[in-house]
Every structure is written in structure tokens, then in C-alpha cells.
Amino acid sequence: MAEPRPVLEMTGIVKEFPGVRALSDVDFRLFPGEIHALMGENGAGKSTLIKVLTGVYSLDGGTITLDGTAVRIGSPLEAQQAGISTVYQEVNLCPNLSVAENIFIGREPTRGGRIQWKRLRRRAAELVDRLGLDIDVSAPLSSYPLAVQQLVAIVRSLGTGEGAGGGEGPGTKVLILDEPTSSLDRDEVLRLFALMRRLRDEGVAILFVSHFLDQIYEVCDRMTVLRNGTLVGEHLVRDLDQVGLVQLMLGKAMGQLDELHEHQLHSGAGETLLQADGLGRTGGIAPFDLEIKKGEVIGLAGLLGSGRTELARLLFGADQPDSGKVTIGGEQVSMSAPNDAIDAGVAFCSENRKSEGLVPELTVRENIILALQASRGWTRPIPAAQRDELVAKYIKALDIRPADPEARVGRLSGGNQQKVLLARWLITSPKLLILDEPTRGIDIGAKAEIQKLVVSLSEDGMSVLYIAAELEEVLRLSHTIGVLRDRRLVARIANGPEITTSRILETIASGEHQ
């Protein structure tokens, strides 16, 4: 790639929070007409850098140069006006308004203060057409799936530069896409990538954040790697292979994972604990059969949106099935609400810790005893002594920090919050523990600890249903791997030395297991 002048240059960026230096002396540059990946583990400083760039945070040091001139970005609005647009993982649009309005709100074409609706819709339709999207701009945004809403958000961010009078302004120079693919299925990702490539070819500089390495290698031209708030390096994507990238991102933490990798799986053959027959839910997952044995770890492999979470939620009664039945320990369970599953000994840690797991205002102790207390009912409180002993035991066993049962759980780090959730279910002594992405968004140390815990729980006879985005993680821990594709359970593979990630990938891709 010829090296023109970078459209954006950040030099010596420093950002401090009380007690923490989130970014120290980070350089970052972005060229027009490239897709640039910003890589790093949690805590590397990715989002801090983006927030500095978009004016959410103020700088503590360093300079930002846009098109050769130094700029100060004081607010998201100023960033937009300077030509830096951001699209977040959550779609920040108004679902109650039409697509066209969402694209233009705040800069509607007006004449004498009156909005010109016809012109607005026509221009929105033109914009959408030009980008090769098939969207009816007069329909309310809420009538479209999330993926389309995300595309609309991008379209909106592109229109930002256009002046109120309809004249073309500076336009978007830098487009930041912060984890836009997290909740998209493969098909939708492809649509997004097509749009990204089109914009790149038009000269827009795109900053792309994604946790999916394959996506990075599929669509990006260049990448910048951060670790612990410092710059590790800037590379052309074609010059750095995946192994090299992971090593850069993880630093020396690699060994910890290898250690677990060599862990020997014991054979998980026991009596049947749970049997699902034809369990399914329209719009969630097609009817499936699944047998879970005592002490068995079943890993679910599949792409995001393949039905992993939906399957888990059905087994827990979090969603109500349309068809099928579940037998646990020989008895049929109605599964009309989580209570039924809990009473039968099923526990479920949701992937959404904050919205579906913790009660942030309550203390660590209260959060830990919540499930046990709920199953006992409000009339039978857990005696204080027994409660304190249980809580202390699990805080110690799982190494929850701070080890203070009175601490508010909302103030704990992600890894410790996850451990609190685990403790909550472990004290109910479940027969089946469902873990939906328990290691997402937590640091590498806590990740390894949680994986070790799963192994030891299974050795003690507890069955575990384990969902993780990374196939290696599933492969490492599971006795049996359930493969999902397009909201169907397509295969059930017994783990063994001959099973590799590529075999699983093949199954996911083809939908068949040879």
C-alpha cells in the first residue's frame, strides 16, 4: 500500500483514571482508504483510546492531528463535526422513528424551519441505494432486525458531514466500528463487510474492533495491537499471522493456557442426568434431542447466533419451549419457568452478567445467597451463621477479590463478578451447571481459574453445559461437543485426540459430522 499522509494521527496519548494509567504514550495512525483493526485483550486500552478519539474522555497528554491540523475533541458532537463517526455494538438509534428519519435526525432538510419530508425520504433512499442496501426507508426502524439497524447506524454516521441546507460538507473521514459484529450472524457479517469494503474504496478510514480473529484477517488491511495501555506494534495484516498476533496480544500469559491444554480429560461415562426430547422453540432453536450424563462436560460449539444460548435457555426454562419434553433424573420437568429447572437441580449463568445475572446494588454476600434463598422461598431465610459460613467458604474457594462479603457487587471487576455468579449457583449444589460464555470479557488469569474449576466440578460428578465463543476452549474442557448451526443442533461429537478445531469447524460449516 502506498503511504499517503495519514488522515488521523494520535501521538503520545496519555489517559489516566484515579489510580490507573489506562493509556501511556500510545501512538496511533489511520490512513484514508484502509480498514484498520485495533487489537488487544480486555484492559489493553482499546475502548479508552476510542473514547479519547470520540471526545467521550478528555486527554491527559498527547496530541491528535486530523488531516494535518491539530484538533481538540471535547465531545462526541465535536468529533462528529470533525468527521469522526462512531457506530457502537449497541445500536444507538431511535426504534420508534422511521429509517429515513434516523438517518437524518438533527440535520433534516428544512425550508423556513419546516421539515421537507419528501426530500428527506428521497435523500435517505438515495444514500441507502448508493451503498447497495435494500431497505425501505419509510418503515419504522423497529421493524428491522438488529443487523439491519446496525447498517442504518453506519449510513447515518456517513451522512453526518452534510450541512443543514443539504450541501455536502466535509463528510466522514474516520468511521469507528466498535464491535459491530458481536451480535450478527455470518450472513449479516458478510453484508457489513461488503459495506465496509465499499466505504474503504471510497476513501473512508475505518477503525474496526472485533474479537473474532478470522474477521480481522478477512477484512482488515492493517492492525494496531495494544497491551496494558501501551502500544505493542502496528503491522500490516498480511505480515502477521494469527499465532503471532495472539502472542502479541497476550504477552507472556500464553503459558497459562498451555498448561490447561495438557489437562487430561477423565472419561465422563455415567448414568443419564438429563434427557431432552424434541425440545424446541420457534424463532429460538429447532427441536433437538440431547442427553447429558452425570459428571459430563458438554461443550456447545457454533457461531454466535447459531442457537447456543437459546438451547441453554430452554434447558433452564428461561424461555418457554413450544415442543418437546425434558426429563431430569428420570422425572419429567415442565420447564415453564426457571423455578422448575432450578428445583430439578439446573443452574444457569447467563452470558449477560450485568443485565441477567447480578443485582449490582446488593452486596457480594446477598448476590451469592440469592439463588439458594429464592429456592427456599421468602419465609425460610438462611440462618445468619450458616449463610456467613457458606459465603466465606466460596469467597475463599473461588478467590473472589476483594474478599469482603459486604462489598457492593457492582464495583467488582468482571472476573470477580463472574465468580460471584458461579458461587451463587455452586452453593445450591446443582446437578447440571449451564455456563454461557463464562470467560467473556474477563482477564486471562480469571479465565484459567474458571476453566480449572469446571474440570474439578466435573470430576466431582457435576454435569456442565459449557458455551464459549472460542472453539479451543470448548475442545479443551468438554467430553462431548454439541455443534450448532443456524439454530439447529447438527451433531454430537465425543471428544478425543482425533478431534481438532478444524474438524469442529468443518462440522459447523457443512452441518454434518463425518
Binding site: N92, C94, P95, G106, A139, D187, D214, I508
Partner: protein
């Protein structure tokens, strides 16, 4: 890791289905309310035909007798569309009646001077509440509750007694009639219809109006989209304050007195009218035209109860409550249908 070889699959149609669209159409609740009004009117016609229910003037009286409520409800519509709530409406109306009566009767100011003063006070009161709500992030419920107390208290501070207005210009204004051929409208009714038209224009043809909808739809998003959500919020409460004061003036004309207990609880009528008019209390969805039908339905209930003769006035409250309940349940049903 994700597989790169997966073939693209069809995942739902990109365009919403016609049936879903019809059910999800945001105009449907307004149509339902309009239909309800027509049905009630029809029932009234068939039952009280012989008592003169069919007179055009009976219909026009709905506007004359409820003009002030319409103006107040229009203000509340702005607030509710933006996702907020205003409990201070009734007190503001009561305060305006006292303020006006006191200035005209006790201070001898001409009504033409008093009108802009009253409107300014109302708008400023609304502005203050909006300012506190936005800048200190206190819930609108609580702030406007303080407004409710404050303005009712100020009524009592002005005078504990009712002040009747004998001013000639006021009574001539109050009695002025605008002939429409088949009947007449009062100044108050005309003003309320003008307010309705202006509100419709503002909500649908100005950026401010669209911002009100955007904020009601998703405030966080509106902020991230770079919309001046703070200013809009303050403006919405200012509009409501202004409308309440205007409603207070119309009420003063209608009743020709100021009383510290005037319009007690009228915020409930206004909110009920807005909800019956199909506006979602969660904000972001609704039409000011629906509010008109909501007010007309409430007015019609009162008329019918009057015509019935044997029913006592409290049946109005009960009927309003029952209607409110029905509409809330219908709204609930519709929003759940839309989600699935």
C-alpha cells in the same frame, strides 16, 4: 473462532410483513379512539335524540366546555412523548386563575397586560422544572410533584378565598361567540383548536418536534446521535408550563373567577386524555390528534352523564377510570404483539 466457509443463509425477510405493519402502525390507537368517540356519539344520539343531543351546538359545546383541558392535554402530550410526565398541570391552571383574578381585580391591571404575564410565569415555571430535571438528573415525577405543591401553595399565598372577576373586558371576552352557521364557538374553544394545530405542526414539521419523539424513543441514543437532548427536555417542560398557563387563562374565562382549589387533580384528566388518545406513556409514540379525541371522549362522557340525568357526577370518574384501564390494556396487548 468463526468458520469462514459457512454459506450465507436466508435469515428472515428484510421487509416487514403487511399484517405486522398494520398492527404495528402507530396511527392505529388514534383511529381506535376516534372510532370510540363516534360510537359513543352514536349511542348518545340514539338515546337522547328527543332531548336535543343531536343539536350541532351540543357537539360544539364539547369544545367550549373542554377547551382548557385540550390545551393542558396538548402540553402534557409533549411531555409524555418525550418520555417524561408533568404532575404540575392542575396546580399551574389553578395558580393561573388566582394570579389572573388577583391582578385584574385586586391590582386593577387590564387583562391584555395580565395575559402575557400569566403565560410568561407559566412558561418560566415549566422551564425551571425542566432545568432541574435535566441538569440534576432528578426524576420528572418528583420534580413536577414539587411543582404541584409549589403552585398550589402559591395559590393559597395569593388568597385563601375565591376571587370572582367582574372586569368588563374579561366578561365580554368570555361571552364572545364566533358563529359557525349551525352553532357557535367561544374564544376559548377557538384558542384551543389553534393550539392543537400549532402543536401538530411543531411535532411533525420542525426539528424540535422530531427531537421530542427521538428522546422519547431512546434518550441515550438521542444523546449519542448528537441531538441537544437537554435543551429539548427543558423546552418540552416549558411548552407544558406555557400550555398549562394558557389553559388556566381559558379556565378563568370559562369560570370567571380565581379559586385556590380550581382544577385540583386536572393533571389526571389531562394524562388520561393523552393515554386514551393513544400516546404511549413510555414515550416516543403517539399523536397530538389522538389527544384531541381523548379530550372529546372524556367530554362526551360528561355530556352523556348530564343527559342521563339520573347518574351522579362521580360516575364521570369511574367511567374515566374504566376507559383508562381498557386503553392501557389495549396498548399493552398491541406492544406485545409488535415485539413478537
Amino acid at each position: 473462532m468463526s468458520a469462514t466457509t459457512q454459506s450465507p443463509t436466508a435469515s428472515g425477510s428484510r421487509t416487514p410483513s403487511t399484517a405486522g405493519r398494520l398492527l404495528g402502525d402507530r396511527r392505529l390507537p388514534v383511529a381506535v379512539t376516534a372510532l370510540l368517540f363516534l360510537v359513543m356519539y352514536g349511542v348518545g344520539l340514539s338515546r337522547y335524540q328527543n332531548y336535543g343531543f343531536g343539536e350541532p351546538q351540543v357537539f360544539l359545546n364539547l369544545f367550549i366546555d373542554n377547551g382548557y383541558l385540550l390545551v393542558a392535554a396538548v402540553g402534557v402530550t409533549f411531555v409524555i412523548l418525550s418520555g417524561g410526565i408533568d404532575l404540575s398541570v392542575g396546580s399551574m391552571i389553578g395558580f393561573t386563575t388566582m394570579f389572573t383574578a388577583w391582578l385584574v381585580e385586586r391590582q386593577g391591571l387590564p387583562i391584555v397586560v395580565v395575559i402575557p404575564m400569566a403565560l410568561a410565569v407559566g412558561a418560566f415555571g415549566g422551564f425551571l422544572m425542566g432545568y432541574v430535571i435535566h441538569n440534576f438528573e432528578i426524576q420528572p415525577f418528583i420534580v413536577t410533584l414539587a411543582g404541584l405543591f409549589l403552585f398550589r401553595g402559591l395559590c393559597l399565598v395569593i388568597s385563601k378565598e375565591s376571587i370572582s372577576i367582574g372586569d368588563a373586558s374579561v366578561s365580554s371576552m368570555a361571552q364572545a361567540q364566533v358563529s359557525l352557521g349551525m352553532g357557535f364557538l367561544s374564544i376559548g374553544a377557538i384558542v384551543s383548536l389553534v393550539v392543537l394545530a400549532v402543536a401538530f405542526y411543531v411535532l411533525h414539521y420542525t426539528r424540535f418536534g422530531r427531537r421530542v419523539y427521538a428522546i422519547g424513543g431512546n434518550e441515550q441514543s438521542a444523546m449519542l446521535m448528537g441531538l441537544p437532548q437537554g435543551g429539548t427536555k427543558i423546552a418540552v417542560y416549558t411548552v407544558s408550563g406555557f400550555c398549562s398557563a394558557l389553559a388556566g387563562l381559558l379556565f378563568t374565562l370559562y369560570i370567571q373567577s380565581g379559586d385556590p382549589l380550581h382544577a385540583t387533580g386536572m393533571e389526571l384528566d389531562a394524562i388520561a386524555a393523552v393515554v386514551i388518545g393513544g400516546t404511549l406513556l413510555t414515550g416516543g409514540s403517539g399523536y397530538v390528534l389522538g389527544t384531541l379525541f381523548g379530550v372529546l371522549v372524556l367530554g362526551l362522557i360528561k355530556s352523556i352523564i348530564q343527559f342521563e340525568g339520573t347518574l351522579s357526577s362521580w360516575w364521570t370518574k369511574i367511567a374515566t377510570g374504566v376507559l383508562l384501564c381498557a386503553f392501557i390494556l389495549v396498548q399493552r396487548f398491541m406492544t406485545t404483539r409488535k415485539k413478537t
